[in-house]
C-alpha cells in the first residue's frame, strides 16, 4: 500500500481533480456546487464486498454505475449512490414540469459517474503520463444489499476508495467512487507519486 507521503500527494491530486469535477457538476446541475474534500482509503480486493456492505444503508435501493477505462492506464470505476441521493440529484437536474422516467434517473446517475471518473482518472493518468480511454458506463440497480456479486472484478487486486459529499444548494448527494485496478498499476501510481515527491523536494 501507499506510504503516508504518497497518500498525501494522492489526496492533493484528487482534490485538484475534484475541483475540476465540481465545475463540471455545477454546469451539469445548473446550480452552485461544492464537493467536500474526498477521503481516500485503500483496500485489498478480498475486502471489497465487505466494505460495500458497510458503506450503504440497509433500507434503500442502490444505484451502482460501472465504467471501464483502458489504455496504458486501465481499471474500472464503480460509483454508488443511494436512493435518497439519487432523488436529490434528479430533483435538481429536471424541472417539475418534465415527465421524469426511470431512464431520466439512470441517465443522471451515469452522467455524474462519468464526470467524476473522467476528472479523477484523467488527473491520475496525466500525472503518470499515461493514456486512458473511457468506455460507456453501465448501471445496475439493487433493491437491497445483496448486490455484491461482483465476480467480474476478480482480475483486479487493489481498490482505491474515494468518498465525497456533493452539495447543490440545499440538497446533499453522497456518493462513493471506487477505483479498481491491478497491483501493477498501483506500483506505477506509487512510482509516479514518488517522482512528484522528488520534484517537490
Amino acid at each position: 500500500m501507499l506510504t503516508p507521503l504518497q497518500k498525501e500527494i494522492l489526496q492533493e491530486l484528487v482534490n485538484i481533480a475534484f475541483g475540476s469535477a465540481t465545475a463540471s457538476m455545477a454546469e451539469l446541475m445548473d446550480a452552485f456546487a461544492t464537493l467536500s474534500v474526498p477521503s481516500i482509503h485503500f483496500l485489498p480486493i478480498e475486502q471489497f464486498n465487505e466494505h460495500l456492505r458497510t458503506v450503504v444503508c440497509d433500507d434503500q435501493p442502490l444505484y451502482l454505475s460501472q465504467q471501464v477505462f483502458t489504455g496504458s492506464m486501465k481499471g474500472e470505476t464503480i460509483f454508488i449512490l443511494e436512493q435518497t441521493s439519487v432523488d436529490n440529484l434528479v430533483r435538481h437536474l429536471y424541472t417539475d414540469e418534465e415527465q421524469i422516467t426511470q431512464a431520466h434517473i439512470n441517465d443522471a446517475v451515469l452522467e455524474v459517474n462519468n464526470i467524476l471518473s473522467v476528472t479523477t482518472i484523467g488527473k491520475l493518468a496525466e500525472i503518470m503520463k499515461m493514456q486512458t480511454n473511457f468506455m460507456v458506463p453501465t448501471l445496475r440497480i439493487f433493491a437491497d444489499r445483496e448486490f455484491a456479486d461482483l465476480s467480474e472484478l476478480a482480475e483486479y487486486d487493489a481498490v482505491i476508495i474515494i468518498e465525497t459529499l456533493m452539495r447543490f444548494e440545499q440538497e446533499q448527494i453522497c456518493g462513493h467512487l471506487l477505483i479498481l485496478t491491478a497491483s501493477a498499476m498501483m506500483q506505477e501510481l506509487q512510482h509516479a507519486l514518488d517522482q512528484i515527491a522528488g520534484e517537490m523536494m
Binding site: 451539469l28 441517465d107 452522467e111 462519468n114 473522467v118 460507456v136 458506463p137
Partner: protein, 428 residues
C-alpha cells in the same frame, strides 16, 4: 478529421457546436436519413428533428467540452437522436433505429464536438426478445408454483427413495390418511397396509418397479383412524439426467365409493356371497383367454330338499339356512375360492389353481361340513355337488353345463354326494 474518413465510417457522425448547429454530416447519416449534407449543414439539429432532447444534449456537449473527454448519451424520450426509419423482414416493435451516442471533443477552440451515433437496434431487439422470454419463463414459473400448490392440495402423492422410504408426501395425502407429514417421512408406505391385501400384489409391484416399469393396481389401505379405503395406485419410477433411477412417485386416487357400488352390484344381499352377475362376468373374463394358464375347477351345489325347508319352517327359516350355508362355505373353502349364490338354493364355487382331484377333495370336505352342521330351526341338512375341471376346448357355457350335469347326476344318484367329471379326471 477528413470528410472522406468520416464518410467511410459505419456509424453516424455529426460535428456540432454547443447550440447544436451542424458542421458535418457523414455519408452514413445521409444514406439512412435521405438528407444530403447540403440540406443540413448550418442548420440546428433540434430544428431538423423535433424529437431531439436539446436541453439534455446541449448539457452533455458542454460537459464534454469542459472535461475534454468523451461523455455518453442514450436518448431518453425516443430511443434515437436522429430518426432513422427501419424496415426489417422479421417483425418487431421498433420503427426507428435504436441509437447510442458518444460525444467527444473535436475542436476545443471552436467549441465543436463530434457526435458518434451507433446503431444498437439489433442488441435492442435481442434485449426485447430476451425480456419476452424472461417474462414467459416468469409466467411459467408462476403457473408452475400455482400448479404445484394445486397438486399438493388436491393430489394424493407420495415420493419414496429406492428403498421405499417416504421422502415427500402431498398435503392432500397427509390430510386424507390423517397423518402429519413428519410422521410419514422416513416410513414405508406399508404404514397404510391392510391385512386383507395378498402379499402377491406387493411382490408384483416391487418386481415391476425394479425393472423400471410403471405399476398400477387397486389397493385396500388403512387410514390412521383404522378405517379402510380403496385406492387406485399408480407408481412411476423417476430417473436423473444420466438415466439412473432415483426415486418412485406414487399417485393415490380414492376409489372407495366405486368399490362400494361395485360390491353392491355383484353381491347377493341375503348371503353376502357374490351373485350370478358376478359369476357371469368372471366366466367371461376367464374364457377371454387372459387366465387360461392356470387350472380351474368349478363346483355347483344344491341344498337337498330345500323346498321342504321353506314349506315346513317358513321362508324366514329358509333364509337363515341360506345364510348359514353361505357362512359354512366361506369357512370351509380357501380365501382364493370364489363363492357365489346362483339363485334359490343353488351355489357355485370357482376354484382357481385347482385340478379335479383338489376340487373333489374340497367339495367332499364341504359336503361333510354341511352334513355335520345344525341349521337354526331346521337341524341337519345335506347338499349335492357337481365338480368339474375346465377342459382345453371348454367355453364358458360348456364348462357350466358339464358341471350342472354332474350336479344333476349327484342328485339323481341319491343326493348328499359329489359327482365329478370322470372324463376330465382320466385326462388329468
Amino acid at each position: 478529421m477528413e470528410r472522406s474518413i468520416l464518410d467511410q465510417l459505419e456509424v453516424g457522425v455529426i460535428i456540432t457546436d454547443a447550440n447544436l448547429v451542424i458542421y458535418e454530416w457523414n455519408r452514413f447519416l445521409q444514406m439512412h436519413t435521405q438528407l444530403p449534407r447540403e440540406a443540413v449543414i448550418g442548420k440546428r439539429l433540434d430544428a431538423l428533428f423535433e424529437q431531439v432532447e436539446s436541453a439534455v444534449l446541449k448539457r452533455k456537449i458542454r460537459t464534454t467540452l469542459r472535461l475534454r473527454e468523451s461523455t455518453f448519451y442514450r436518448p431518453i424520450a425516443a430511443p434515437y437522436c436522429v430518426p432513422v426509419p427501419i424496415k426489417r423482414f422479421i417483425q418487431h416493435d421498433l420503427n426507428y433505429m435504436v441509437q447510442r451516442v458518444s460525444i467527444s471533443p473535436y475542436d476545443e477552440e471552436k467549441g465543436l464536438v463530434l457526435l458518434s451515433i451507433y446503431d444498437e437496434t439489433d442488441s435492442r431487439i435481442a434485449q426485447i426478445e430476451l425480456e419476452k422470454e424472461m417474462q414467459k419463463t416468469q409466467q411459467l414459473n408462476a403457473r408452475l408454483t400455482q400448479d404445484q400448490e394445486i397438486i399438493d392440495t388436491n393430489l394424493m402423492m407420495l415420493k419414496t427413495d429406492l428403498q421405499g422410504r417416504i421422502v415427500e408426501a402431498s398435503s392432500a395425502l397427509c390430510s386424507f390418511y390423517g397423518y402429519d407429514r413428519d410422521t410419514l417421512l422416513g416410513r414405508n408406505p406399508s404404514i397404510f397396509g391392510h391385512k386383507s391385501m395378498p402379499s402377491m400384489v406387493f411382490h408384483d409391484l416391487w418386481e415391476k418397479l425394479a425393472k423400471g416399469e410403471t405399476w398400477r393396481g387397486e389397493v385396500q389401505n388403512l387410514l390412521s383412524n383404522g378405517k379402510d379405503h380403496w385406492a387406485d395406485v399408480l407408481i412411476l419410477p423417476f430417473y436423473d439426467e444420466q438415466g439412473v433411477m432415483t426415486h418412485y412417485v406414487g399417485i393415490y386416487h380414492d376409489i372407495s365409493d366405486r368399490k362400494r357400488l361395485e360390491s353392491l352390484y355383484v353381491t347377493d344381499p341375503l348371503t353376502k356371497l357374490f351373485n350370478r352377475y358376478f359369476f357371469d362376468q368372471q366366466m367371461k373374463g376367464i374364457f377371454m383367454g387372459k387366465r387360461r394358464a392356470k387350472s380351474l375347477s368349478m363346483m355347483l351345489i344344491d341344498i337337498d330338499h330345500f323346498k321342504q325347508v321353506n314349506d315346513i319352517y317358513g321362508h324366514r327359516s329358509g333364509d337363515l339356512v341360506l345364510q348359514e350355508f353361505a357362512q359354512t362355505m366361506r369357512a370351509t373353502l380357501r380365501n382364493s375360492d370364489v363363492c357365489i349364490r346362483m339363485g334359490g338354493e343353488e351355489f357355485a364355487v370357482l376354484l382357481p389353481g385347482c385340478d379335479l382331484i383338489e376340487a373333489c377333495s374340497a367339495a367332499e370336505h364341504l359336503r361333510q361340513e354341511i352334513e355335520k352342521y345344525v341349521f337354526t330351526n331346521v337341524g341337519r341338512l345335506t347338499c349335492s355337488i357337481g365338480v368339474a375341471q375346465r377342459l382345453e376346448d371348454d367355453d364358458a357355457d360348456s364348462f357350466y353345463e358339464r358341471t350342472d350335469m354332474l350336479l344333476y347326476a349327484a342328485k339323481t344318484q341319491g343326493r348328499n354326494r359329489i359327482a365329478h367329471d370322470a372324463m376330465a379326471l382320466t385326462l388329468a
